[in-house]
């Protein structure tokens, strides 16, 4: 089976690797460089503390896959199971976290509710004065996203697949119920099946065959400080939309925040507003960071849908599959989405675990 995957991001490469492993002949077409959209911009949180049952189930499977990804790919992927701490700064938010934790525990995820005192005792560097409580799952953690991108890329090539780059897909061509080729600036590529995993470029490609998925772009900005002695184990996230931060294995403190407001340019430029806000928030939760220097900020565009879930699955044409509209989940769920999608594409059977993410929910 010949398969063309459009986009060598973390999702495209995970799907491509899993297809190649199952014996498919896979060619990934990449416009820039592997991971060039959002994949290499994430700070790498991997957690299972979701509010929907299907997200929690998928996250749990994903965590198992992530745990053995290094050995599966024979590539060094530093997934740190140092836990993920979600903290609430209001009673309402805490009530939500507590009810989410209850659901997570009923599905076999080890989430515990922590009081501000427990949080301060565990993490003495944290100033918990504005924290009313939180939830913690020990099996969650964080990963260096580049290593996952490069691990899948390497694994794909070891199974005979390839990444064709830099090559831009300009349109798909359909004949009745099937896609027959992808047109590029380097000629047309024919295949038995096509996967559109082109991140924010996906909608334009789908429009060439009369399809669309309504999405919105949210700008997120990140920063890294100078490296410090290792002290900050878990990923800490201010629930629901506040700052997320952790320390990398290189010692840098990294953090991420959405940049919102009417004036925000939807691009990957860095803003002074972000630097000021991120600095204020980091010092609010870790006052000792005041003297630590920022080395660099960066930014990425997250594409979301109306239900904040990605679009993953078969879409209208018999041999057309999509995986995009990240919604903050592509790095988080790349191993499991790649595994289940490859299984679906090879067998033609849809998997109920991916059902809620099907793009068919956007059809009129």
């Amino acid at each position: 089976m010949r398969i063309v995957v459009i986009g060598a991001g973390i999702l495209g490469l995970s799907i491509a690797y899993n297809l190649a492993k199952r014996g498919a002949d896979v060619n990934v077409i990449e416009k820039q460089y592997p991971g060039s959209g959002l994949s290499v911009r994430a700070i790498g949180a991997i957690h299972s503390q979701w509010k929907n049952e299907y997200d929690i189930k998928l996250a749990k499977k994903n965590r198992d896959l992530m745990n053995r990804l290094s050995s599966d790919l024979n590539f060094n992927i530093p997934f740190r199971r140092d836990g993920h701490l979600m903290v609430a700064t209001s009673k309402e938010q805490l009530a939500e976290l507590e009810s989410n934790a209850k659901l997570q525990r009923s599905l076999g995820v080890d989430t515990n509710v922590l009081t501000p005192e427990e949080i301060e005792n565990r993490y003495p560097f944290l100033n918990a004065s504005s924290i009313v409580g939180g939830t913690f799952s020990k099996g969650d953690g964080s990963v260096h996203p580049f290593s996952v991108v490069y691990g899948f890329w390497n694994g794909l090539e070891e199974h005979g697949g390839q990444v064709t780059r830099p090559t831009t897909v300009t349109a798909l061509h359909a004949k009745e119920h099937r896609i027959c080729s992808a047109e590029t600036n380097n000629g047309a590529f024919e295949a038995d099946a096509f996967v559109v995993a082109a991140g924010t470029g996906s909608r334009e490609i789908l429009r060439s065959v009369g399809l669309d998925v309504p999405t919105e772009l949210v700008k997120r900005e990140m920063l890294a400080t100078e490296p410090l002695r290792f002290f900050l184990r878990p990923m800490i996230q201010v629930y629901p939309e506040g700052i997320s931060f952790t320390q990398t294995l290189r010692g840098e403190i990294v953090c991420e925040l959405p940049t919102t407001g009417e004036e925000v340019r939807k691009d990957t430029s860095s803003t002074l507003e972000f630097l000021e806000k991120a600095a204020t928030e980091l010092i609010r939760f870790m006052p000792a960071l005041s003297d630590v220097k920022i080395l660099r900020p960066w930014a990425g565009l997250v594409e979301t849908t109306r239900d904040s879930e990605p679009a993953v699955g078969r879409y209208v044409y018999d041999n057309l599959w999509v995986a995009f509209a990240d919604s903050g989940k592509s790095v988080m769920f790349a191993p499991v989405i790649g595994d289940l999608m490859a299984e679906q594409i090879m067998s033609g059977q849809t998997n109920p675990d991916l059902g809620p993410y099907s793009p068919a929910r956007f059809l009129p």
């Binding site: 010092i283 005041s290 003297d291 220097k293 080395l295 960066w298």
Partner: protein, 92 residues
């Protein structure tokens, strides 16, 4: 034999960079993320041109065919306390 360092922040030698290029990380963006040059305190001011030179030589490209990775603020590292507005004196 001495070592030829191209990136002092991340301790990278010419040989490290050439090995990464031979492994297939052969565009400046992938090379930066795999090898780690330009991610330390100098943010590429010391190493970027050295790496471009190695990439151009190894891939037989003209340096002018290449591009730099995105240059971001800050020019030099700045303390969080300064950006949070907690300090009057803007010392680095």
């Amino acid at each position: 034999m001495g070592k030829k360092f191209v990136c002092y922040c991340e301790d990278l030698t010419e040989e490290d960079v050439l090995e990464a290029i031979r492994l297939g990380y052969d565009d400046i963006e992938s090379l930066k993320r795999y090898a780690g040059f330009s991610t330390g305190p100098c943010q590429g001011k010391t190493c970027m041109l050295q790496v471009l030179r190695l990439l151009a030589t190894e891939k037989k490209l003209k340096p002018s065919d290449q591009h730099l990775t995105t240059q971001r603020p800050l020019v030099d590292p700045v303390r969080l306390g300064v950006l949070a507005g907690n300090e009057k004196k803007c010392g680095l």
